[in-house]
């Protein structure tokens, strides 16, 4: 057993649900007790989703325990098949069903015979993989299932047609999905980037894609995997089965974006014998870096000079921490005192990536360790998840959020990509704003704070009114930010009713009359 207060990564089924519900026409059925469908709340609240989340629970209760779940699971699958007519139903195991050790695979087979939809059992072990690993697996599982199914069901000629490359260079973007950190904005930015490079977007999965279109994946010339956490397994599979090259350099920051573009050029030249791509793309990189992105200029401006040598801590998932570390060190001249990640399963790659860019590395999923590290280092600024934001608040250190886990404010309505050239602008703003706020705060303290106006409204009526001890205590219990308002209202009420003593009763009566 582990004493845990907070976790960076969710349980496995969340990963599966995030992938499955990102596809169009896929319904997930959780095999879970009442209350485990909290995913629906998150999607509906955080993403402000307009549609009903295509996830239902096949409830495990006492009756199910006594009888076994088969009947109910099969019944629920066939029912969903009739109600929603999805292309695919994904039966999603949870921690509870892992313990029940029922033959869910068998239920799926039975249900598949009775329904028009395809039915899959998500192949994830709750106790071995976390949310991100599960998402990666589920995406690969669904892709593999549809490609194998297509190959089996079509003639050899049709199959050849399907795996024939598109006429113009094209790419699949793999790993954009629901509840991801700024994923949708990143996706728009990636589409723009590829279009600028003269590359067509073949399929984007899973977000908004249809499983029936997965058979078109091999048509693309290569795959682009923007995030390290989800999509690589699919890329490996497509490389092995269809010899599709992939780009796994995250186009984040000026150097990162340039490296990503250069890798694309290399793939196009070496695998597809396209000439001159490198030179053309090199021009594009220069053009964008100098004129579209403001980040390169910002790095030379006097603003950024002030940041030189400042000390920061970076913590989050591997993709964002690695990229942010490199951006801060190489593009802004900021010292990264510690770079850390909660993705323990990918620790080796992480260490290798940040080696030489940071004083120390922290691999942990225990937020108290992160808190202690921040307290020890006392950085000028922290870049992390929502947890680091709260830790920093405690230590009064400014903080910018760069990675999941996140709150609703990290699902902005405005356009805020982290990737591509517009992303570099957004990151520069984020970094600079975090620091200036810290500086401003420091100066304010140094010079005695803002001018404070005397509060005029106090001490006028109080003298004529006598608050009993009980009433004073009741008042002290009211949260600070509304206390004065309540006090004024009660006094107003007392005056109107010609009361001189304020008791708890008077307070309640005032509340009842004023609201």
């Amino acid at each position: 057993m582990k004493l845990a207060y907070w976790m960076y990564c969710g349980p496995a089924h969340i990963g599966t649900l995030r992938v499955a519900s990102s596809f169009k026409g896929v319904h997930s059925l959780m095999h879970a007790p009442l209350g485990d469908d909290y995913f629906n709340v998150m999607r509906s609240m955080l993403e402000r989703e307009r549609d009903f989340t295509p996830v239902t629970a096949s409830i495990v209760d006492r009756h199910v325990l006594a009888r076994g779940s088969q009947e109910k699971v099969v019944e629920n699958i066939t029912r969903k098949d009739k109600e929603e007519r999805p292309d695919l139903i994904v039966l999603t195991p949870t921690c509870t069903s892992s313990i029940l050790v029922e033959d869910l695979g068998n239920f799926v087979e039975r249900a598949a015979m009775e329904s028009n939809s395809d039915v899959l059992l998500a192949d994830v072990n709750h106790y071995r993989v976390n949310e991100l690993q599960a998402a990666d697996r589920t995406l690969e599982q669904i892709v593999r299932f549809y490609l194998e199914k297509t190959k089996k069901n079509v003639s050899g000629e049709e199959w050849q047609n399907l795996i024939t490359k598109t006429e113009k260079p094209s790419a699949n973007i793999i790993g954009i999905f629901t509840l991801g950190f700024h994923n949708f904005h990143d996706c728009s930015e990636l589409k723009r980037l590829l279009t600028n490079l003269g590359i067509e977007v073949n399929e984007i999965i899973p977000e908004g894609g249809k499983v029936t279109n997965l058979k078109n994946l091999p048509k693309a010339w290569f795959n682009l995997i923007p995030y390290r956490e989800v999509g690589l397994m699919t890329a490996y599979y497509l490389e092995k089965e269809f010899q599709m090259p992939y780009v796994d350099i995250t186009p984040m920051g000026l150097a990162g974006t340039a490296a990503c573009i250069r890798r694309i050029a290399k793939i196009l030249e070496e695998n597809f014998n396209l000439q001159n791509k490198k030179t053309v793309y090199e021009d594009y990189i220069q053009q964008q870096t100098k004129f579209v992105s403001q980040a390169a200029w910002f790095a030379r401006s006097i603003d950024c000079q002030n940041l030189t040598g400042k000390k920061v801590v970076v913590f989050g998932d591997v993709t964002h921490v690695v990229c942010m570390t490199k951006i801060l060190v190489c593009e802004m001249g900021i010292r990264v005192a510690c770079a850390g990640t909660y993705c323990k399963h990918d620790a080796d790659w992480f260490r290798e990536q940040v080696w030489g860019f940071t004083d120390e590395v922290l691999i942990t999923d225990d937020h108290t360790q992160v808190s202690e590290m921040i307290a020890r280092i006392e950085p000028d600024c922290v870049f992390g998840t929502q947890m680091e934001r709260h830790i920093s608040k405690k230590w009064e250190i400014p903080c910018g959020v760069i990675s999941a886990p996140i709150h609703i404010q990290n699902f902005p309505l405005g356009y805020r990509p982290f990737l591509g050239y517009e992303g570099t602008n957004q990151i520069a703003d984020l970094v600079y704003n975090s620091f200036t706020l810290g500086m401003e705060d420091h100066l304010l303290k140094l010079f005695g704070g803002h001018d404070t106006k005397l509060n005029i409204n106090t001490n006028e009526k109080e003298n004529s009114l006598n608050w009993t001890v009980e009433a004073q205590q009741e008042l002290s219990r009211i949260p600070g930010f509304v206390r004065n308002k309540v006090k004024r209202n009660v006094q107003k009420y007392a005056e109107q009713n010609h009361l001189t003593e304020i008791t708890v009763e008077v307070m309640y009566a005032a509340k009842e009359s004023i609201g």
């Binding site: 207060y5 907070w6 349980p11 209350g35 909290y38 709340v41 096949s58 002290s476």
Partner: protein, 503 residues
């Protein structure tokens, strides 16, 4: 109670509905019981739910944690008792709580961890009371979590010996009159705990004399506040020495202390003294229970607690509607008065005045229809109140319907139906099916749907106004004073927010 006629129809559906897991009760209970620590023994799934549903509360170092079961625990490679002991010792060292509450989950049920068996021996070993509550999603929904905790806690309340206490009371009264000033602090507090005779203000005055700084609002140190709260809660329950003897009354249900005080005061207006609350603000102050003690619930989801109080603690349950809305509060007070042989006074006026104060809100909702999807078991009481406000209730979805514990509430619902000549009596749908409900909502097009957060945005997007049911669980909604708070919530989607801009 009265038998139900054909007015109200009961149905039961598939139980495929959305609600919160009952472990969510730790969110409000750890705040209510100030010296407690809640240990949820479960998996990452439970932890993830709690951290996301509790939101910002989590960053304030809550007195709750997960005992996260790992693969080795599932396959019984670890000794559960040793593991729990290790964690509890750590909690004792870090937080030193007065009680640790173990929340059993689905996983502990499936693994058949004998929490109830382990708790007493571990309790003896480490010296902190351990209360076990099985608040799992296999058996319960959302607010029922509190019910399981309070039912366990009812067994920890001290036994009331009626004869003994009345003797102490007599004695105390005498002593108090004779030498007020000689109460030392220790004596006062121990005596205060046993009975309720002396007015604690005596103690307060003593403090003043002995040169302690007089606590003023705004300048209270945390320890002062705590001390004062203790004094005050006792002064509220005991302040006026009984004008007329009535058997002891204990109320059950967790309410914010302000709301609890408001209800206590309503009863004091009727010369009824509340001798204690289950739960109390501190574990050490749990009320005395026993034969001859009257108990009354304040929330409709507390049926197990009621059962425990009746069967195990031999208390007398006052079956009453719940103090939600002016009508409910009035009926609740009346039932308590009747049970304690007290003639209620001025209730007509009180209720009428309360209704008057709601008129601005009533104008907005009169004649509008409402559909409860079912989430937190407050549905019957809320529907009854809204019906009295002049709304048409189309459907009352509810996770679980205890017809015995809610008998008085159902009777009042029925009465309200008849009096308001509700043309279509509402269907009460137990264990609803959300998919079918959404079909019905699409057909009926209610003016307001009270629903969980999973459906709120999608319904709004389809032009149906919604209110999150969860808010009713956390807002102060009890008593006359808070009737406005309910209508504030109900009318919010129906007021100015219905923006339809011209583009």
């Amino acid at each position: 109670m009265s038998t139900l006629t054909e007015t109200v129809k009961f149905e039961c559906e598939t139980g495929n509905y959305h609600t919160f897991c009952p472990i969510s009760c730790v969110a409000w209970l750890y705040q209510k019981i100030e010296d407690s620590f809640f240990l949820v023994i479960g998996t990452k799934t439970c932890g993830y739910f709690l951290q996301n549903s509790l939101g910002v509360m989590l960053f304030a170092e809550p007195r709750y944690a997960m005992a996260e079961l790992e693969e080795a625990d599932i396959s019984a490679q670890f000794n559960d008792y040793k593991e729990l002991k290790r964690l509890c010792l750590q909690i004792q060292q870090d937080r030193n709580p007065s009680v640790i509450v173990w929340i059993g989950t689905c996983t502990t049920e499936l693994l058949k961890l004998d929490l109830e068996g382990m708790a007493p021996s571990l309790e003896a070993e480490i010296g902190i009371p351990i209360v076990v509550a099985r608040a799992n999603g296999l058996d319960y929904a959302f607010t029922q979590g509190e019910d399981t905790v309070l039912a366990s806690m009812a067994n920890r309340c001290p036994e009331k010996n009626l004869q003994n206490t009345s003797q102490i009371q007599e004695q105390l009264k005498k002593t108090e009159v004779e030498n007020k000033t000689f109460f030392d602090e220790k004596m006062t507090s121990t005596l205060l705990n046993k009975s309720g005779a002396p007015t604690p203000l005596v103690k307060f005055k003593n403090l003043k004399k002995s040169g302690d700084p007089t606590p003023l609002p705004g300048s209270l140190s945390p320890s002062d506040v705590k001390e004062n709260q203790k004094i005050e809660s006792q002064s509220l329950t005991n302040n006026k020495i009984l004008k007329k003897e009535h058997p002891p009354l204990v109320l059950f249900g967790s309410l914010p202390s302000i709301v609890a005080n408001q209800l206590t005061m309503e009863l004091r207006h009727q010369n009824i003294t509340v001798s204690g609350w289950l739960p109390s603000n501190r574990y050490g102050d749990l009320p005395e229970l026993g034969e001859g003690v009257f108990v009354c619930g304040v929330n409709p989801f507390l049926s197990r607690t009621a059962m425990t109080l009746m069967r195990r603690r031999k208390c007398k349950l006052i079956g009453a509607p719940f103090p939600i809305g002016p009508d409910g509060t009035r009926a609740w007070i009346e039932k308590i008065c009747n049970a304690l042989n007290v003639v209620p006074q001025g209730l007509d006026e009180r209720e009428a005045k309360n209704w008057q104060g709601l008129e601005d809100y009533l104008k907005i909702i009169r004649g509008k229809s409402v559909f409860f999807m079912g989430d937190n078991i407050l549905e019957i009481s809320l529907a009854r109140f809204l019906m009295r406000c002049g709304m048409t209730v189309l459907e009352i979805g509810i996770p679980y319907m205890d017809k015995r514990f809610q008998a008085a509430e159902l009777a009042l619902l029925e009465e309200t139906c008849q009096q308001m000549s509700h043309s279509n009596p509402p269907r009460i749908v137990e264990r609803p099916d959300n998919h079918s409900q959404i079909n019905r909502i699409r057909a009926l097009l209610p003016d307001l749907v009270i629903t969980g957060m999973a459906h709120a945005n999608p319904l709004q997007a389809r032009g149906i106004k919604t209110k999150w049911s969860t808010e009713f669980t956390f807002a102060p909604i009890h008593g006359f004073v808070n009737a406005r708070a309910i209508l504030e919530l109900v009318t919010r989607p129906l007021r100015g927010t219905s923006v339809s801009p011209v583009y």
